[in-house]
Protein backbone atom coordinates (compact mmCIF):
# COMPACT_ATOMS: atom_id res chain seq x y z
CA UNK A 1 0.00 0.00 0.00
CA UNK A 2 2.60 2.45 1.16
CA UNK A 3 4.80 1.70 -1.80
CA UNK A 4 1.98 2.12 -4.28
CA UNK A 5 1.51 5.80 -3.44
CA UNK A 6 5.28 6.23 -3.29
CA UNK A 7 5.83 4.91 -6.77
CA UNK A 8 2.81 6.81 -7.98
CA UNK A 9 4.36 10.12 -7.04
CA UNK A 10 7.65 9.02 -8.55
CA UNK A 11 5.94 7.98 -11.73
CA UNK A 12 4.33 11.40 -11.91
CA UNK A 13 7.75 12.81 -12.67
CA UNK A 14 7.39 11.55 -16.20
CA UNK A 15 5.03 14.45 -16.72
CA UNK A 16 8.07 16.68 -16.93
CA UNK A 17 8.87 14.91 -20.18
CA UNK A 18 5.98 16.77 -21.80
CA UNK A 19 7.52 20.27 -21.52
CA UNK A 20 10.96 18.82 -22.26
CA UNK A 21 9.75 17.45 -25.56
CA UNK A 22 7.89 20.71 -26.18
CA UNK A 23 11.23 22.52 -25.96
CA UNK A 24 12.12 21.07 -29.33
CA UNK A 25 8.82 22.01 -30.92
CA UNK A 26 9.89 25.30 -32.54
CA UNK A 27 12.29 23.28 -34.70
CA UNK A 28 9.33 21.63 -36.36
CA UNK A 29 6.97 24.51 -36.83
CA UNK A 30 6.34 27.14 -39.44
CA UNK A 31 5.19 30.63 -38.36
CA UNK A 32 1.56 29.62 -38.58
CA UNK A 33 1.80 26.42 -36.57
CA UNK A 34 4.01 28.20 -34.06
CA UNK A 35 1.28 30.77 -33.57
CA UNK A 36 -1.19 27.94 -32.89
CA UNK A 37 1.24 26.23 -30.51
CA UNK A 38 1.47 29.44 -28.48
CA UNK A 39 -2.31 29.61 -28.33
CA UNK A 40 -2.37 26.05 -27.00
CA UNK A 41 -0.28 27.12 -24.03
CA UNK A 42 -2.65 30.01 -23.34
CA UNK A 43 -5.70 27.79 -23.52
CA UNK A 44 -4.08 25.20 -21.30
CA UNK A 45 -4.10 27.75 -18.50
CA UNK A 46 -7.59 28.98 -19.28
CA UNK A 47 -8.94 25.44 -19.26
CA UNK A 48 -7.11 24.52 -16.10
CA UNK A 49 -8.44 27.57 -14.27
CA UNK A 50 -11.97 26.87 -15.41
CA UNK A 51 -11.66 23.23 -14.47
CA UNK A 52 -10.59 24.02 -10.91
CA UNK A 53 -13.83 25.88 -10.28
CA UNK A 54 -16.37 23.79 -12.16
CA UNK A 55 -14.63 20.43 -11.85
CA UNK A 56 -12.87 20.38 -8.50
CA UNK A 57 -14.87 22.92 -6.54
CA UNK A 58 -18.01 21.85 -8.40
CA UNK A 59 -19.42 25.36 -8.75
CA UNK A 60 -21.32 26.22 -11.91
CA UNK A 61 -19.56 29.54 -12.38
CA UNK A 62 -19.18 31.01 -15.85
CA UNK A 63 -16.97 33.90 -14.82
CA UNK A 64 -13.96 32.32 -16.45
CA UNK A 65 -14.27 34.44 -19.57
CA UNK A 66 -14.47 37.50 -17.37
CA UNK A 67 -11.18 36.58 -15.67
CA UNK A 68 -9.62 36.06 -19.10
CA UNK A 69 -10.75 39.48 -20.28
CA UNK A 70 -9.77 41.18 -17.04
CA UNK A 71 -6.26 39.72 -17.35
CA UNK A 72 -5.93 40.72 -21.00
CA UNK A 73 -7.15 44.27 -20.39
CA UNK A 74 -5.07 44.64 -17.24
CA UNK A 75 -2.03 43.75 -19.28
CA UNK A 76 -2.95 46.07 -22.15
CA UNK A 77 -3.83 48.97 -19.83
CA UNK A 78 -0.62 48.52 -17.85
CA UNK A 79 1.31 48.45 -21.09
CA UNK A 80 -0.36 51.25 -23.03
CA UNK A 81 -1.61 53.60 -20.31
CA UNK A 82 1.06 53.06 -17.70
CA UNK A 83 3.93 52.23 -20.01
CA UNK A 84 5.02 49.17 -18.06
CA UNK A 85 7.28 46.57 -19.70
CA UNK A 86 5.43 43.46 -20.87
CA UNK A 87 6.92 41.15 -18.28
CA UNK A 88 5.65 43.37 -15.47
CA UNK A 89 2.14 43.33 -16.86
CA UNK A 90 1.89 39.54 -16.55
CA UNK A 91 1.79 39.27 -12.73
CA UNK A 92 -0.43 42.36 -12.64
CA UNK A 93 -2.88 40.59 -14.91
CA UNK A 94 -2.77 37.61 -12.58
CA UNK A 95 -3.62 39.78 -9.60
CA UNK A 96 -6.42 41.49 -11.52
CA UNK A 97 -7.81 38.08 -12.48
CA UNK A 98 -7.56 36.94 -8.88
CA UNK A 99 -9.56 39.98 -7.84
CA UNK A 100 -12.18 38.99 -10.41
CA UNK A 101 -12.15 35.55 -8.82
CA UNK A 102 -12.68 37.13 -5.45
CA UNK A 103 -15.76 38.99 -6.71
CA UNK A 104 -17.20 35.82 -8.22
CA UNK A 105 -16.59 33.91 -5.00
CA UNK A 106 -18.45 36.61 -3.11
CA UNK A 107 -21.58 35.60 -5.01
CA UNK A 108 -21.03 31.93 -4.16
CA UNK A 109 -20.53 32.85 -0.50
CA UNK A 110 -23.80 34.76 -0.49
CA UNK A 111 -25.44 31.40 -1.06
CA UNK A 112 -25.87 31.96 -4.80
CA UNK A 113 -25.23 28.52 -6.22
CA UNK A 114 -25.92 26.30 -9.16
CA UNK A 115 -27.89 27.98 -11.93
CA UNK A 116 -28.10 31.22 -10.01
CA UNK A 117 -24.34 31.32 -9.86
CA UNK A 118 -24.11 30.47 -13.55
CA UNK A 119 -26.43 33.33 -14.41
CA UNK A 120 -24.89 35.91 -12.12
CA UNK A 121 -21.37 35.10 -13.32
CA UNK A 122 -22.53 35.21 -16.92
CA UNK A 123 -23.96 38.66 -16.20
CA UNK A 124 -20.64 39.61 -14.63
CA UNK A 125 -18.80 38.62 -17.81
CA UNK A 126 -21.17 40.53 -20.06
CA UNK A 127 -20.96 43.53 -17.76
CA UNK A 128 -17.19 43.52 -18.09
CA UNK A 129 -17.53 43.40 -21.87
CA UNK A 130 -19.85 46.40 -21.79
CA UNK A 131 -17.28 48.13 -19.63
CA UNK A 132 -14.48 47.49 -22.16
CA UNK A 133 -16.68 48.85 -24.94
CA UNK A 134 -17.89 51.96 -23.15
CA UNK A 135 -14.86 53.24 -21.30
CA UNK A 136 -12.91 54.19 -24.38
CA UNK A 137 -10.43 56.42 -22.57
CA UNK A 138 -9.15 53.49 -20.60
CA UNK A 139 -9.82 50.52 -22.86
CA UNK A 140 -9.91 51.94 -26.39
CA UNK A 141 -13.54 50.90 -26.78
CA UNK A 142 -14.40 48.87 -29.87
CA UNK A 143 -11.10 49.84 -31.52
CA UNK A 144 -9.32 47.69 -29.00
CA UNK A 145 -6.21 48.41 -27.00
CA UNK A 146 -2.69 47.59 -28.11
CA UNK A 147 -0.16 45.92 -25.88
CA UNK A 148 3.50 46.52 -26.47
CA UNK A 149 5.75 43.52 -26.93
CA UNK A 150 8.82 45.65 -27.50
CA UNK A 151 9.66 46.98 -24.09
CA UNK A 152 11.56 44.36 -22.26
CA UNK A 153 14.28 43.29 -19.92
CA UNK A 154 16.53 42.55 -22.85
CA UNK A 155 13.81 40.33 -24.29
CA UNK A 156 11.36 41.37 -26.99
CA UNK A 157 8.32 39.20 -27.36
CA UNK A 158 7.84 39.97 -31.02
CA UNK A 159 9.10 36.62 -32.25
CA UNK A 160 6.69 33.74 -31.86
CA UNK A 161 9.51 31.41 -30.97
CA UNK A 162 10.70 33.55 -28.09
CA UNK A 163 7.08 33.93 -27.09
CA UNK A 164 6.71 30.17 -27.09
CA UNK A 165 9.55 29.64 -24.66
CA UNK A 166 8.32 32.38 -22.36
CA UNK A 167 4.78 31.00 -22.44
CA UNK A 168 6.07 27.49 -21.89
CA UNK A 169 7.88 28.53 -18.73
CA UNK A 170 4.87 30.42 -17.38
CA UNK A 171 2.52 27.57 -18.20
CA UNK A 172 4.74 24.93 -16.62
CA UNK A 173 5.12 26.94 -13.43
CA UNK A 174 1.39 27.49 -13.10
CA UNK A 175 0.48 23.92 -13.96
CA UNK A 176 3.01 22.67 -11.40
CA UNK A 177 1.62 25.05 -8.79
CA UNK A 178 -1.92 23.91 -9.51
CA UNK A 179 -0.89 20.27 -9.21
CA UNK A 180 0.75 21.06 -5.86
CA UNK A 181 -2.41 22.74 -4.65
CA UNK A 182 -4.76 20.02 -5.83
CA UNK A 183 -2.67 17.25 -4.29
CA UNK A 184 -2.50 18.99 -0.93
CA UNK A 185 -4.95 19.36 1.90
CA UNK A 186 -6.26 22.45 0.11
CA UNK A 187 -7.08 20.41 -2.99
CA UNK A 188 -8.76 17.76 -0.88
CA UNK A 189 -10.77 20.42 0.91
CA UNK A 190 -11.83 21.87 -2.45
CA UNK A 191 -13.23 18.51 -3.51
CA UNK A 192 -14.73 18.00 -0.06
CA UNK A 193 -16.67 21.24 -0.46
CA UNK A 194 -18.01 19.98 -3.77
CA UNK A 195 -19.01 16.62 -2.28
CA UNK A 196 -20.55 17.85 0.97
CA UNK A 197 -20.02 21.40 2.10
CA UNK A 198 -21.78 20.93 5.43
CA UNK A 199 -19.72 17.92 6.40
CA UNK A 200 -16.55 19.75 5.32
CA UNK A 201 -17.18 22.51 7.84
CA UNK A 202 -17.72 19.90 10.56
CA UNK A 203 -14.06 18.94 10.21
CA UNK A 204 -12.91 22.41 11.11
CA UNK A 205 -12.26 23.36 7.49
CA UNK A 206 -13.20 26.98 6.79
CA UNK A 207 -15.31 26.32 3.71
CA UNK A 208 -15.69 29.98 2.74
CA UNK A 209 -11.95 30.38 2.72
CA UNK A 210 -11.59 27.28 0.54
CA UNK A 211 -14.15 28.59 -1.94
CA UNK A 212 -12.44 31.98 -2.10
CA UNK A 213 -9.06 30.29 -2.55
CA UNK A 214 -10.25 28.13 -5.43
CA UNK A 215 -11.91 31.05 -7.21
CA UNK A 216 -8.94 33.36 -6.72
CA UNK A 217 -6.43 30.79 -7.90
CA UNK A 218 -8.62 30.14 -10.92
CA UNK A 219 -8.81 33.90 -11.53
CA UNK A 220 -5.07 34.22 -11.10
CA UNK A 221 -4.02 31.66 -13.68
CA UNK A 222 -6.73 32.64 -16.14
CA UNK A 223 -5.78 36.29 -15.65
CA UNK A 224 -2.19 35.44 -16.55
CA UNK A 225 -3.48 33.53 -19.56
CA UNK A 226 -5.32 36.75 -20.46
CA UNK A 227 -2.04 38.68 -20.41
CA UNK A 228 -0.46 36.01 -22.59
CA UNK A 229 -3.41 36.30 -24.97
CA UNK A 230 -2.90 40.07 -25.16
CA UNK A 231 0.79 39.63 -25.86
CA UNK A 232 0.02 36.91 -28.37
CA UNK A 233 -2.44 38.93 -30.44
CA UNK A 234 -0.88 42.35 -29.81
CA UNK A 235 -4.23 44.05 -29.36
CA UNK A 236 -7.28 43.23 -27.26
CA UNK A 237 -10.90 43.71 -28.31
CA UNK A 238 -14.08 43.42 -26.24
CA UNK A 239 -15.55 40.76 -28.54
CA UNK A 240 -12.80 38.30 -27.64
CA UNK A 241 -14.38 37.83 -24.22
CA UNK A 242 -17.97 37.07 -25.05
CA UNK A 243 -20.11 33.99 -24.88
CA UNK A 244 -18.28 32.37 -27.78
CA UNK A 245 -15.09 32.40 -25.76
CA UNK A 246 -17.04 30.89 -22.89
CA UNK A 247 -18.25 27.91 -24.86
CA UNK A 248 -14.86 27.30 -26.40
CA UNK A 249 -13.38 27.16 -22.90
CA UNK A 250 -16.22 24.99 -21.71
CA UNK A 251 -15.65 22.59 -24.57
CA UNK A 252 -11.96 22.33 -23.74
CA UNK A 253 -12.63 21.57 -20.08
CA UNK A 254 -15.20 18.96 -20.94
CA UNK A 255 -13.41 17.26 -23.79
CA UNK A 256 -10.32 17.00 -21.61
CA UNK A 257 -12.19 15.83 -18.54
CA UNK A 258 -13.63 17.91 -15.72
CA UNK A 259 -11.36 18.33 -12.73
CA UNK A 260 -8.35 16.68 -14.32
CA UNK A 261 -5.09 18.52 -14.86
CA UNK A 262 -3.92 16.21 -17.64
CA UNK A 263 -7.37 16.53 -19.17
CA UNK A 264 -7.12 20.31 -19.19
CA UNK A 265 -3.88 20.14 -21.16
CA UNK A 266 -5.28 17.59 -23.59
CA UNK A 267 -8.55 19.42 -24.08
CA UNK A 268 -6.80 22.73 -24.73
CA UNK A 269 -4.31 21.24 -27.17
CA UNK A 270 -6.91 19.22 -29.08
CA UNK A 271 -9.46 21.97 -29.40
CA UNK A 272 -7.01 24.74 -30.26
CA UNK A 273 -5.66 22.74 -33.16
CA UNK A 274 -8.74 21.12 -34.69
CA UNK A 275 -10.96 24.13 -35.40
CA UNK A 276 -8.18 25.71 -37.42
CA UNK A 277 -9.30 23.47 -40.25
CA UNK A 278 -12.83 24.84 -40.27
CA UNK A 279 -12.18 28.45 -39.35
CA UNK A 280 -12.43 29.64 -42.93
CA UNK A 281 -16.15 28.99 -43.19
CA UNK A 282 -18.48 31.22 -41.21
CA UNK A 283 -20.45 29.28 -38.64
CA UNK A 284 -18.50 26.04 -39.02
CA UNK A 285 -16.45 26.71 -35.92
CA UNK A 286 -19.60 27.04 -33.83
CA UNK A 287 -21.08 23.88 -35.26
CA UNK A 288 -17.80 22.14 -34.64
CA UNK A 289 -17.62 23.11 -30.96
CA UNK A 290 -21.32 22.60 -30.39
CA UNK A 291 -21.37 19.12 -31.89
CA UNK A 292 -18.14 18.05 -30.24
CA UNK A 293 -19.39 19.00 -26.79
CA UNK A 294 -22.71 17.25 -27.34
CA UNK A 295 -21.02 14.08 -28.53
CA UNK A 296 -18.55 14.07 -25.64
CA UNK A 297 -21.39 14.57 -23.16
CA UNK A 298 -23.24 11.61 -24.61
CA UNK A 299 -20.50 9.10 -25.17
CA UNK A 300 -17.56 10.09 -22.99
CA UNK A 301 -18.79 12.28 -20.14
CA UNK A 302 -15.44 12.10 -18.35
CA UNK A 303 -13.49 13.28 -21.33
CA UNK A 304 -10.16 12.28 -22.81
CA UNK A 305 -8.66 11.95 -19.34
CA UNK A 306 -10.89 8.94 -18.72
CA UNK A 307 -9.17 7.19 -21.62
CA UNK A 308 -5.79 7.97 -20.05
CA UNK A 309 -6.99 6.72 -16.68
CA UNK A 310 -7.52 3.30 -18.24
CA UNK A 311 -3.89 3.28 -19.28
CA UNK A 312 -2.43 4.30 -15.94
CA UNK A 313 -3.78 5.19 -12.49
CA UNK A 314 -1.70 8.36 -12.40
CA UNK A 315 -4.39 9.94 -14.54
CA UNK A 316 -7.14 9.03 -12.11
CA UNK A 317 -9.45 11.94 -11.62
CA UNK A 318 -11.75 12.77 -8.80
CA UNK A 319 -14.85 13.93 -10.52
CA UNK A 320 -18.51 13.15 -9.87
CA UNK A 321 -19.03 9.45 -9.67
CA UNK A 322 -21.82 7.71 -11.43
Amino acid sequence: MQTSTGTLSKRRRIFWLVPLIALALPLLTNPYTQFIANAMLIYTLVTLGFSVVIGNLGQLAFANTAFFGIGAYASAIASTNLGLPWLATVPLAGLAGAFGGFLASAAALRGIRLYYLAIVTMAFGELMRWFYTHTGVLTGGTDGLPVSRERDFGLALTSDTVQFYVFLIITCLLVAGTVNLLRSRIGRAIIAVRENEIATASLGIPTSQIIVTAFMWSGFIVGIAGAMFALHTGRVFPESFGLTQLIVNFAMVLVGGLGSVAGAVLGAVALTALPEYVRAFPGMEEIFFGVIVMVVLLVMPKGLASLLARVSPIFQQRYHRD
Binding site: I54, L60, A107, R110, G111, I112, L114, Y115, Y116, A118, I119, V120, M122, A123, F124, E126, L127, W130, H134, I198, G242, L243, I247, F250, A251, L254, L258, F281, P282, G283, M284, E285, E286, I287, F288, F289, G290, V291, V293, M294, L297, L298, P301, H320, D322
Partner: protein, 289 residues
Protein backbone atom coordinates in the same frame (compact mmCIF):
# COMPACT_ATOMS: atom_id res chain seq x y z
CA UNK B 1 -42.83 61.32 -21.60
CA UNK B 2 -43.14 59.04 -18.58
CA UNK B 3 -46.23 57.31 -19.96
CA UNK B 4 -44.64 56.98 -23.36
CA UNK B 5 -41.57 55.36 -21.84
CA UNK B 6 -43.70 53.01 -19.78
CA UNK B 7 -45.57 51.98 -22.87
CA UNK B 8 -42.48 51.17 -24.92
CA UNK B 9 -41.12 49.43 -21.83
CA UNK B 10 -44.19 47.24 -21.62
CA UNK B 11 -44.00 46.42 -25.31
CA UNK B 12 -40.35 45.43 -25.04
CA UNK B 13 -41.02 43.75 -21.71
CA UNK B 14 -43.75 41.62 -23.26
CA UNK B 15 -41.07 39.91 -25.35
CA UNK B 16 -38.87 39.39 -22.30
CA UNK B 17 -41.88 38.07 -20.41
CA UNK B 18 -42.48 35.53 -23.13
CA UNK B 19 -38.87 34.38 -23.10
CA UNK B 20 -38.78 34.21 -19.31
CA UNK B 21 -42.02 32.26 -19.36
CA UNK B 22 -40.65 29.80 -21.89
CA UNK B 23 -37.52 29.31 -19.76
CA UNK B 24 -39.68 28.81 -16.70
CA UNK B 25 -41.88 26.23 -18.43
CA UNK B 26 -38.78 24.14 -19.03
CA UNK B 27 -37.28 24.81 -15.61
CA UNK B 28 -40.42 24.04 -13.63
CA UNK B 29 -40.96 20.67 -15.21
CA UNK B 30 -37.38 19.49 -15.68
CA UNK B 31 -35.37 21.59 -13.17
CA UNK B 32 -32.99 22.31 -16.03
CA UNK B 33 -32.13 25.85 -17.06
CA UNK B 34 -32.05 26.08 -20.83
CA UNK B 35 -28.90 28.01 -21.57
CA UNK B 36 -29.46 27.63 -25.29
CA UNK B 37 -32.84 29.28 -25.19
CA UNK B 38 -31.73 32.50 -26.80
CA UNK B 39 -30.89 30.50 -29.86
CA UNK B 40 -34.39 29.00 -29.92
CA UNK B 41 -35.64 32.58 -30.14
CA UNK B 42 -33.14 33.29 -32.91
CA UNK B 43 -34.07 30.12 -34.77
CA UNK B 44 -37.78 31.01 -34.60
CA UNK B 45 -37.06 34.41 -36.10
CA UNK B 46 -34.77 33.01 -38.80
CA UNK B 47 -37.18 30.28 -39.82
CA UNK B 48 -39.90 32.86 -40.23
CA UNK B 49 -37.56 34.99 -42.28
CA UNK B 50 -36.63 32.14 -44.59
CA UNK B 51 -40.21 31.11 -45.09
CA UNK B 52 -41.35 34.66 -45.82
CA UNK B 53 -38.44 36.01 -47.83
CA UNK B 54 -36.86 33.01 -49.52
CA UNK B 55 -39.91 30.83 -50.04
CA UNK B 56 -42.54 33.52 -50.25
CA UNK B 57 -45.10 32.25 -47.79
CA UNK B 58 -47.30 34.84 -46.10
CA UNK B 59 -46.23 35.98 -42.65
CA UNK B 60 -48.99 34.34 -40.66
CA UNK B 61 -48.71 30.78 -41.98
CA UNK B 62 -44.93 31.16 -42.06
CA UNK B 63 -44.81 32.01 -38.39
CA UNK B 64 -47.12 29.15 -37.51
CA UNK B 65 -44.89 26.73 -39.38
CA UNK B 66 -41.84 28.14 -37.61
CA UNK B 67 -43.44 27.76 -34.19
CA UNK B 68 -44.53 24.18 -34.84
CA UNK B 69 -41.09 23.36 -36.21
CA UNK B 70 -39.47 24.77 -33.08
CA UNK B 71 -41.83 22.75 -30.92
CA UNK B 72 -40.71 19.59 -32.68
CA UNK B 73 -37.08 20.62 -32.40
CA UNK B 74 -37.54 21.15 -28.66
CA UNK B 75 -39.05 17.69 -28.28
CA UNK B 76 -36.28 16.14 -30.35
CA UNK B 77 -33.65 17.92 -28.27
CA UNK B 78 -35.19 16.64 -25.07
CA UNK B 79 -35.49 13.07 -26.29
CA UNK B 80 -32.20 12.74 -28.08
CA UNK B 81 -29.79 14.90 -26.10
CA UNK B 82 -31.16 15.70 -22.65
CA UNK B 83 -32.84 12.37 -21.93
CA UNK B 84 -29.67 10.25 -21.97
CA UNK B 85 -27.86 12.47 -19.44
CA UNK B 86 -30.79 13.58 -17.30
CA UNK B 87 -29.51 11.94 -14.12
CA UNK B 88 -26.01 13.38 -14.55
CA UNK B 89 -24.37 16.46 -13.07
CA UNK B 90 -25.79 19.91 -13.66
CA UNK B 91 -22.69 21.04 -15.50
CA UNK B 92 -23.40 18.50 -18.19
CA UNK B 93 -27.03 19.56 -18.57
CA UNK B 94 -26.13 23.23 -18.73
CA UNK B 95 -23.47 22.48 -21.31
CA UNK B 96 -25.74 20.35 -23.41
CA UNK B 97 -28.22 23.17 -23.84
CA UNK B 98 -25.46 25.72 -24.46
CA UNK B 99 -23.86 23.61 -27.15
CA UNK B 100 -27.14 22.83 -28.85
CA UNK B 101 -27.90 26.53 -29.04
CA UNK B 102 -24.37 27.18 -30.22
CA UNK B 103 -24.85 24.68 -33.01
CA UNK B 104 -28.09 26.34 -34.08
CA UNK B 105 -26.24 29.63 -34.17
CA UNK B 106 -23.50 28.08 -36.28
CA UNK B 107 -26.07 26.72 -38.73
CA UNK B 108 -27.70 30.14 -39.00
CA UNK B 109 -24.32 31.68 -39.70
CA UNK B 110 -23.39 29.07 -42.28
CA UNK B 111 -26.53 29.82 -44.21
CA UNK B 112 -26.64 33.59 -43.79
CA UNK B 113 -23.02 34.51 -43.42
CA UNK B 114 -22.15 37.51 -41.34
CA UNK B 115 -24.86 39.75 -42.71
CA UNK B 116 -27.52 41.52 -40.79
CA UNK B 117 -30.90 40.87 -42.33
CA UNK B 118 -33.84 43.25 -42.30
CA UNK B 119 -37.19 41.62 -42.91
CA UNK B 120 -39.70 43.43 -45.07
CA UNK B 121 -42.48 44.92 -43.01
CA UNK B 122 -45.41 42.58 -43.02
CA UNK B 123 -48.14 44.73 -41.61
CA UNK B 124 -48.72 48.37 -41.05
CA UNK B 125 -51.01 49.15 -38.21
CA UNK B 126 -51.60 52.85 -37.85
CA UNK B 127 -50.38 54.31 -34.58
CA UNK B 128 -52.97 55.34 -32.04
CA UNK B 129 -52.75 58.69 -30.29
CA UNK B 130 -54.04 59.02 -26.76
CA UNK B 131 -53.31 62.54 -25.60
CA UNK B 132 -49.57 62.97 -26.03
CA UNK B 133 -48.91 59.22 -25.96
CA UNK B 134 -48.31 57.42 -29.23
CA UNK B 135 -49.01 53.71 -29.37
CA UNK B 136 -47.15 52.39 -32.37
CA UNK B 137 -48.59 49.63 -34.48
CA UNK B 138 -45.70 47.33 -33.53
CA UNK B 139 -46.26 47.86 -29.82
CA UNK B 140 -49.94 47.24 -30.21
CA UNK B 141 -49.27 44.07 -32.16
CA UNK B 142 -46.76 42.68 -29.70
CA UNK B 143 -48.67 43.58 -26.58
CA UNK B 144 -51.93 42.15 -27.85
CA UNK B 145 -50.42 38.88 -29.09
CA UNK B 146 -48.53 38.34 -25.85
CA UNK B 147 -51.59 39.26 -23.79
CA UNK B 148 -53.76 36.75 -25.64
CA UNK B 149 -51.10 34.09 -25.31
CA UNK B 150 -50.72 34.66 -21.59
CA UNK B 151 -54.46 34.56 -21.00
CA UNK B 152 -54.70 31.27 -22.90
CA UNK B 153 -51.65 29.86 -21.10
CA UNK B 154 -52.80 30.65 -17.58
CA UNK B 155 -56.40 29.66 -18.31
CA UNK B 156 -55.26 26.26 -19.53
CA UNK B 157 -52.97 25.89 -16.54
CA UNK B 158 -55.55 26.76 -13.92
CA UNK B 159 -58.89 25.71 -15.33
CA UNK B 160 -58.39 22.57 -17.39
CA UNK B 161 -57.62 18.97 -16.55
CA UNK B 162 -54.35 19.14 -18.46
CA UNK B 163 -53.36 22.19 -16.46
CA UNK B 164 -54.18 20.41 -13.20
CA UNK B 165 -52.05 17.49 -14.31
CA UNK B 166 -49.17 19.81 -15.09
CA UNK B 167 -49.46 21.38 -11.67
CA UNK B 168 -49.50 17.94 -10.11
CA UNK B 169 -46.19 17.12 -11.78
CA UNK B 170 -44.79 20.46 -10.62
CA UNK B 171 -45.76 19.58 -7.06
CA UNK B 172 -44.19 16.17 -6.96
CA UNK B 173 -42.68 14.21 -9.78
CA UNK B 174 -42.75 11.00 -7.77
CA UNK B 175 -46.38 11.49 -6.93
CA UNK B 176 -47.17 12.13 -10.59
CA UNK B 177 -45.37 8.95 -11.56
CA UNK B 178 -47.41 7.02 -9.01
CA UNK B 179 -50.72 8.14 -10.45
CA UNK B 180 -49.59 7.02 -13.86
CA UNK B 181 -48.38 10.20 -15.54
CA UNK B 182 -45.60 9.60 -18.06
CA UNK B 183 -43.06 12.04 -16.69
CA UNK B 184 -40.54 11.56 -19.51
CA UNK B 185 -43.13 12.48 -22.09
CA UNK B 186 -44.10 15.43 -19.99
CA UNK B 187 -40.47 16.60 -19.97
CA UNK B 188 -40.27 16.26 -23.73
CA UNK B 189 -43.48 18.19 -24.11
CA UNK B 190 -42.20 20.93 -21.83
CA UNK B 191 -39.04 21.34 -23.87
CA UNK B 192 -41.21 21.53 -26.97
CA UNK B 193 -43.50 24.08 -25.39
CA UNK B 194 -40.53 26.08 -24.12
CA UNK B 195 -38.92 26.12 -27.55
CA UNK B 196 -42.23 27.05 -29.20
CA UNK B 197 -42.86 29.93 -26.79
CA UNK B 198 -39.31 31.12 -27.41
CA UNK B 199 -40.00 30.90 -31.13
CA UNK B 200 -43.11 33.06 -30.68
CA UNK B 201 -40.85 35.72 -29.22
CA UNK B 202 -38.61 35.28 -32.25
CA UNK B 203 -41.53 35.64 -34.61
CA UNK B 204 -42.61 38.82 -32.87
CA UNK B 205 -39.21 40.46 -33.11
CA UNK B 206 -38.50 39.29 -36.64
CA UNK B 207 -40.48 42.01 -38.43
CA UNK B 208 -39.32 44.85 -36.21
CA UNK B 209 -35.63 44.24 -35.71
CA UNK B 210 -32.48 43.38 -37.61
CA UNK B 211 -31.76 39.69 -37.63
CA UNK B 212 -28.34 38.23 -37.02
CA UNK B 213 -27.26 34.82 -35.70
CA UNK B 214 -26.07 36.27 -32.38
CA UNK B 215 -29.29 37.94 -31.39
CA UNK B 216 -30.19 35.12 -29.04
CA UNK B 217 -27.53 35.79 -26.44
CA UNK B 218 -28.87 39.12 -25.32
CA UNK B 219 -32.43 37.81 -25.19
CA UNK B 220 -31.29 34.88 -23.10
CA UNK B 221 -29.81 37.19 -20.51
CA UNK B 222 -32.93 39.35 -20.53
CA UNK B 223 -34.97 36.22 -19.97
CA UNK B 224 -32.72 35.25 -17.06
CA UNK B 225 -32.98 38.73 -15.58
CA UNK B 226 -36.78 38.59 -15.80
CA UNK B 227 -36.85 35.13 -14.22
CA UNK B 228 -34.49 36.16 -11.46
CA UNK B 229 -36.45 39.30 -10.72
CA UNK B 230 -39.77 37.50 -10.69
CA UNK B 231 -38.42 34.58 -8.71
CA UNK B 232 -36.91 31.50 -10.30
CA UNK B 233 -39.57 28.95 -11.14
CA UNK B 234 -42.57 31.22 -10.74
CA UNK B 235 -44.59 31.46 -13.96
CA UNK B 236 -46.41 34.64 -13.03
CA UNK B 237 -43.16 36.03 -11.63
CA UNK B 238 -41.45 35.46 -14.97
CA UNK B 239 -44.12 37.49 -16.78
CA UNK B 240 -44.08 40.31 -14.26
CA UNK B 241 -40.28 40.27 -14.16
CA UNK B 242 -40.17 40.60 -17.94
CA UNK B 243 -42.49 43.58 -17.96
CA UNK B 244 -40.60 45.26 -15.12
CA UNK B 245 -37.29 44.71 -16.89
CA UNK B 246 -38.64 46.24 -20.11
CA UNK B 247 -39.86 49.29 -18.25
CA UNK B 248 -36.68 49.57 -16.16
CA UNK B 249 -34.58 49.57 -19.33
CA UNK B 250 -36.57 52.44 -20.78
CA UNK B 251 -36.38 54.50 -17.60
CA UNK B 252 -32.67 53.98 -17.05
CA UNK B 253 -32.04 54.75 -20.73
CA UNK B 254 -34.06 57.93 -20.71
CA UNK B 255 -33.37 59.31 -17.26
CA UNK B 256 -29.77 58.26 -16.72
CA UNK B 257 -27.86 57.28 -19.84
CA UNK B 258 -28.82 55.50 -23.06
CA UNK B 259 -25.87 53.12 -22.87
CA UNK B 260 -27.38 51.77 -19.66
CA UNK B 261 -30.20 50.08 -21.59
CA UNK B 262 -27.81 47.30 -22.54
CA UNK B 263 -26.73 46.51 -19.01
CA UNK B 264 -29.91 47.07 -17.04
CA UNK B 265 -30.53 43.32 -17.19
CA UNK B 266 -27.06 42.44 -15.89
CA UNK B 267 -27.23 44.95 -13.09
CA UNK B 268 -30.68 43.72 -12.18
CA UNK B 269 -29.52 40.10 -12.02
CA UNK B 270 -26.60 40.95 -9.80
CA UNK B 271 -28.63 43.26 -7.57
CA UNK B 272 -31.53 40.84 -7.12
CA UNK B 273 -29.33 37.86 -6.41
CA UNK B 274 -27.30 39.79 -3.88
CA UNK B 275 -30.20 41.49 -2.14
CA UNK B 276 -33.13 39.10 -2.43
CA UNK B 277 -32.04 35.89 -4.16
CA UNK B 278 -35.53 34.46 -4.32
CA UNK B 279 -36.86 37.42 -6.30
CA UNK B 280 -40.40 38.70 -5.98
CA UNK B 281 -42.33 35.43 -5.98
CA UNK B 282 -39.78 32.65 -5.65
CA UNK B 283 -39.80 30.22 -2.80
CA UNK B 284 -37.02 30.24 -0.27
CA UNK B 285 -34.73 27.27 -0.53
CA UNK B 286 -33.86 25.65 2.80
CA UNK B 287 -30.88 23.38 3.13
CA UNK B 288 -31.42 20.83 5.89
CA UNK B 289 -28.58 19.27 7.82
Amino acid sequence: MFLQLTLSGVSQGAIYALIALSLTVVYRSTTIVSFGHGDFVMAGAFLTYVLVVAIGIAFLPASLIAIVAMFLLGVAFSRGLIGPIRGGPHVGLALMSISFGFTLRGIARTVWGREVLPMPRVFDIDPIFIGSVVITGDALFIISIVAVLLVVFFTVLHFTDIGKMVQAVYQSERGARLIGIDVERFHNFSWGLGAALGAVAGVLIAPISLLHPDLGASFLIKGFAAMTLGGFGSLAGAVLGGLLLGVAEQYSGAYIDTTLIDITAYLLIIAVLLIRPRGLFGRKVVVKV
